[in-house]
């Protein structure tokens, strides 16, 4: 009889323990899962575009990725150094980051090539896609890559059209660019038909640095009868156009000879350009964030369509007046930003 009572007591205890365990497991079920902390490697390949990172981070924060809490960034900056690009990307691969953000074009290309064979996705920003082996198509980029494109050919054409509006009598336009830079050809190819239709000669000038620019310009001036040899200097979207020394060299020459210098709006040591057609850098960074979000949430990067960056027109009206360039009201009205 007593054995039976003991057995019954034991059974009651088992039931109580079981019920308490179920209640506790229900109560504690939401407390055990640790949130994943994503690690993003950022290859900032050009100092001029450093704000892309800030735009990207800001938008990622808005999307719920709080730095230090559920995401960490390993930002590696360099200034157009292909070898460094590769070692940085390799470092990201060794660290097994969850995603690589790379900009501009050449950094994106290196990131794509170096990560081939790994499962690390690449999201690019401010990158040309024309005539470069970066993506298959805008809608289906393919591989493990997607990003925000830089509408290079359109921007190049628009720069040329505005330059022609500012210097309607121009016949020879000097076009310096970084020697060997991958996106140059697509820009030149886009501009050539326009120039031909307008009877303009585009003088291609591949250079490596400011000194070479200076030398090239001197040579042009010396070889010309009127001491200038060119009617305008048009910058392309490439590293040399945002190098301060190069801007100083070209700005000094343009001011001295009262010819327009434009394409990308930039100032250096009191010299600068009179207009710029470009993509908003911070906006490009912001546009990259939703793509990164989708990738981090599991969507294969190669299936996410490439987004286009938004172009805008800036005019430095003061500098235009300084070099005696008249800017029409129509152009001023079109400008998204006018510096007076």
């Amino acid at each position: 009889m007593f054995d039976r009572d003991n057995s019954r007591t034991r059974n009651h205890k088992k039931w109580i323990i079981l019920i308490v365990a179920i209640v506790m497991s229900i109560l504690l079920s939401g407390c055990v899962e640790e949130p994943k902390v994503y690690r993003v490697g950022v290859l900032a390949g050009l100092n001029y575009l450093a704000d892309i990172t800030e735009g990207f981070k800001d938008e990622m924060t808005r999307l719920g990725y709080v730095e230090g809490e559920n995401i960490t960034y390993d930002v590696q900056s360099t200034d157009f150094d292909m070898d460094t690009y590769q070692s940085i990307v390799q470092g990201f691969i060794d660290d097994d980051v969850d995603l690589i953000l790379a900009f501009p074009t050449e950094a994106a290309v290196v990131a794509k090539e170096t990560t081939e064979g790994t499962d690390i996705p690449v999201v690019f920003s401010f990158a040309f896609i024309e005539e470069i082996d970066l993506i298959d198509s805008v809608l289906e980029p393919g591989g493990n890559i997607t990003g925000v494109r830089y509408p290079g050919p359109d921007v190049a054409i628009k720069r040329l059209e505005i330059m022609l509006e500012l210097a309607p009598d121009a016949e020879r336009i000097w076009v310096p660019f970084q020697r060997g830079y991958p996106s140059i050809e697509s820009q030149l190819n886009a501009m050539r038909p326009i120039a031909e239709e307008a009877g303009i000669t585009l003088l291609d000038a591949p250079v490596d640095d400011a000194a070479e620019i200076e030398a090239e310009l001197e040579e042009l001036a010396e070889s010309s009868d009127d001491g200038v040899g060119i009617d305008a200097i048009l910058l392309l979207a490439d590293p040399i156009s945002v190098t301060p020394d190069a801007i100083v060299a070209m700005g000094k020459f343009a001011e001295e000879h009262e010819i327009p210098l434009g394409g990308a709006l930039i100032e250096a040591d009191g010299y600068g350009t009179i207009f710029g057609v470009n993509v908003d850098i911070i906006d490009a960074g912001k546009k990259t964030a939703p793509l990164a979000d989708k990738v981090l949430q599991g969507t294969p990067a190669g299936t996410i369509p490439v987004v286009s960056g938004e172009t805008f027109l800036q005019i430095n009206y003061t500098r235009a007046q300084d070099v005696g360039i008249e800017v029409s009201d129509s152009l001023l009205n079109q400008a998204n930003e006018v510096i007076r």
Binding site: R8, V20, I26, P153, I157, P290, V307, F312
Partner: protein, 631 residues
């Protein structure tokens, strides 16, 4: 005690039954009340969600409409303030350029004259890259521009960027309404995406815009817009497609949303353009309060159930423990400890029960005490009577044995003298005298036989029957003699004697006289009762035993008679009718067979005959050479 334990395994205890009943009652009540509360909350929340979703969707639709209206307003303002078609090309370029700078959504602006010839064009991007907008306006569009004052084209995808575009156009007319030209704008709808992305619907809700064909126009996931995804498979989008633009949805639907999760959603049609804004809120978020309340209610129900269970156990124990004690006391009393008394405590009903139980056990003790005394007295009386009876039986047997012996001695003398007389020892006797002497001898022998039987029974009953076991008894020869004498008896009867004697029948170890007596008794019974047919005598070896069988085709023996034929001094009616006698043959045979360690039995069908079987051991190793038969 054992019975109680067994029953406790089969039936649930009172404590468990009460505890479970209280627990189940509490749980059912909690579940019903909790369920009703949750259902009520769900209905209330559903209505609230519907209202909230409607408000959010209307706000979202106003934003999208405002975006479109803003573009139209800019174009119409420019047309009203400036006589564009009459202005110089410089003025026109300035105006259109201003418009281009005014809003990033304008990708391209074109002014057409009354004949649809392009007067001026400004573009955000290259002139070459942009197509001719005028070519995108067909006759229907031009008619709509002139008649309705506004036109917005279906959405188309820009081939390079895959971004959705629309053409918006407004007419320029004189003050008298004369048509002068058209201001056409290519509007990039991606600038609407931010509006949509900025719409806050709860924490994870979202909004998107679709056209009448279900194509995605604006959505926070721009990749899907760029891919030109058609989402007409979604429930609300399907509703929009199937209903006219004047139809206003007044409730929310639950369905698989655009992000493949379960959502509650609704839509608001814009009318112009023919789009709809769809808002979706994840079901989990929409019903979070209900879910939280449900979880809380479930936890409360669980906790209350546990408490109810514990309370049930407590109450049940309080009620049942005195009963369990009473049961234990009853079990111990049943086990023999009759002096125990139940503990009188607990609820009043149990106290009354325990008191009544104690009273009952007291009475029972008295009764049992009296009963035991009376049983002891009766037992003593019976033992005395049994002893008297045994003694009387002993005296009877001794008397019978003695009397039989005393009877046999003069009877043998009479028979001897009769035989001597019959053979003429004492002088010649005539035939008539011989005949009388023979009848006298026959009667005397019969009397001697009866006396011998009585003597045997007396010996058996007094336990003084002795067997004289001998080895090497050739039963086959004995059987032949029995057959020979039986055939003589059957001379005048149509009865055939059949023998089935095993030729390899081995010699037996037994009291041969008694075995012969048994077999003769069985065969002579068969002869007496069988009027026609056969009598079969069977003798077979069966392992270490021998089986004798006497099978006749006589009248057979009824079931009732088969029970009594082995009882001494009992005869069946058939037995009395056919043979008379003492009825001692079979009881003596039974005693003799059993004294040999064997067995005798009968199998009979009335009207068909009887089969008597005797099974004897071949050897008598386990039997004393001289042993007493058992009565």
């Amino acid at each position: 005690m054992q019975t109680l334990t067994q029953e406790s395994h089969k039936t649930r205890s009172l404590t468990a039954t009460l505890a479970w009943a209280l627990f189940a009652l509490s749980v059912v009540m909690l579940l019903v009340s909790g369920g009703l509360q949750m259902f009520s909350n769900f209905q209330t929340q559903r209505e609230a969600i519907s209202n909230r979703q409607q408000i959010i969707a209307q706000d979202a639709s106003r934003r999208v409409s405002a975006f479109i209206q803003e573009q139209f307003s800019i174009l119409e303002t420019a047309i009203r303030l400036t006589d564009l078609t009459a202005a110089s090309s410089v003025e026109r370029e300035e105006t259109l350029g201003s418009l281009l700078g005014l809003h990033l959504a304008f990708r391209q602006l074109v002014l057409l004259d009354a004949q649809q010839e392009e007067l001026t064009r400004v573009s955000r991007l290259s002139e070459v890259g942009s197509g001719r907008l005028g070519d995108r306006l067909d006759s229907d569009a031009l008619t709509q521009i002139r008649q309705e004052g506004r036109y917005i084209s279906p959405v188309y995808i820009e081939p390079i960027t895959s971004e959705p575009m629309v053409i918006m156009a407004v007419p320029e007319t004189t003050i008298l309404g004369e048509f002068q030209g058209t201001l056409v704008a290519e509007v990039n709808l991606k600038f609407m995406w931010e509006l949509i992305a900025d719409i806050k619907i709860g924490e994870q809700g979202l909004a998107y815009v679709v056209d009448r064909q279900g194509n995605l126009i604006a959505f926070s996931d721009v990749g899907r817009v760029l891919k030109g995804e058609n989402v007409s498979y979604l429930h609300t989008v399907e509703e929009f497609i199937n209903n006219p633009s004047t139809y206003t949805k007044t409730d929310v639907s639950t369905y698989q949303g655009i992000q493949r999760n379960r959502v509650v959603g609704t839509y608001i049609p814009l009318e112009t353009p023919d789009w709809a804004v769809v808002t979706e809120l994840p079901w989990n978020e929409a019903y979070r309060e209900v879910i939280q309340e449900a979880i809380l209610s479930t936890i409360i129900i669980l906790v209350m159930s546990i408490l109810a269970g514990l309370l049930g156990v407590f109450v049940a124990r309080r009620l049942a423990v005195p009963l369990v004690d009473l049961t234990q006391t009853a079990a111990q009393i049943a086990g023999g400890d009759r002096n125990l008394q139940a503990v009188v405590e607990g609820p009043s009903e149990v106290v009354r029960l325990a008191t009544a139980f104690n009273s009952m056990t007291a009475q029972m003790r008295d009764l049992i005490g009296n009963l035991e005394q009376r049983v002891a007295e009766r037992t003593a009386e019976l033992e005395l009577k049994a002893a008297d009876l045994a003694r009387a039986n002993q005296y009877k047997s001794e008397f019978l044995a003695s009397m039989s012996h005393e009877l046999r001695t003069p009877l043998n003398a009479i028979l001897t003298f009769n035989e001597l007389l019959a053979i003429g020892t004492f002088g010649p006797v005539n035939d008539e005298q011989v005949d009388y002497l023979q009848k006298s001898l026959q009667s005397g022998r019969h009397l001697l036989s009866l006396i011998n039987d009585v003597l045997d029974v007396a010996k058996i009953q007094s336990g003084r029957m002795k067997l004289f076991i001998e080895d090497g008894f050739d039963i086959k020869q004995e059987l032949k003699d029995i057959v020979a004498s039986t055939e003589v008896q059957l001379r005048d009867k149509p009865v055939t004697l059949v023998t089935e004697i095993d030729p390899e029948f081995p010699p037996m170890t037994c009291d041969k006289r008694r075995v012969r007596q048994v077999l003769l008794n069985l065969v002579s019974n068969a002869v007496k009762f069988t009027e026609r047919g056969t009598i079969t005598l069977v003798a077979r070896k069966r392992g270490d035993e021998v089986l004798f069988a006497v099978i006749d085709t006589g009248p057979g023996i009824t079931q009732e008679d088969r029970i009594i034929i082995f009882e001494p001094f009992v005869q069946t009616e058939d037995g009395i009718r056919h043979a008379g006698g003492t009825g001692l043959g079979l009881p003596i045979s039974k005693s003799l067979v059993e004294a040999h360690g064997g067995r005798i039995w009968v199998d009979s069908t009335p009207g068909q005959g009887s089969k008597f079987y005797v099974l004897l051991p071949l050897s008598q190793d386990q039997v004393d050479r001289t042993t007493e038969s058992q009565s």
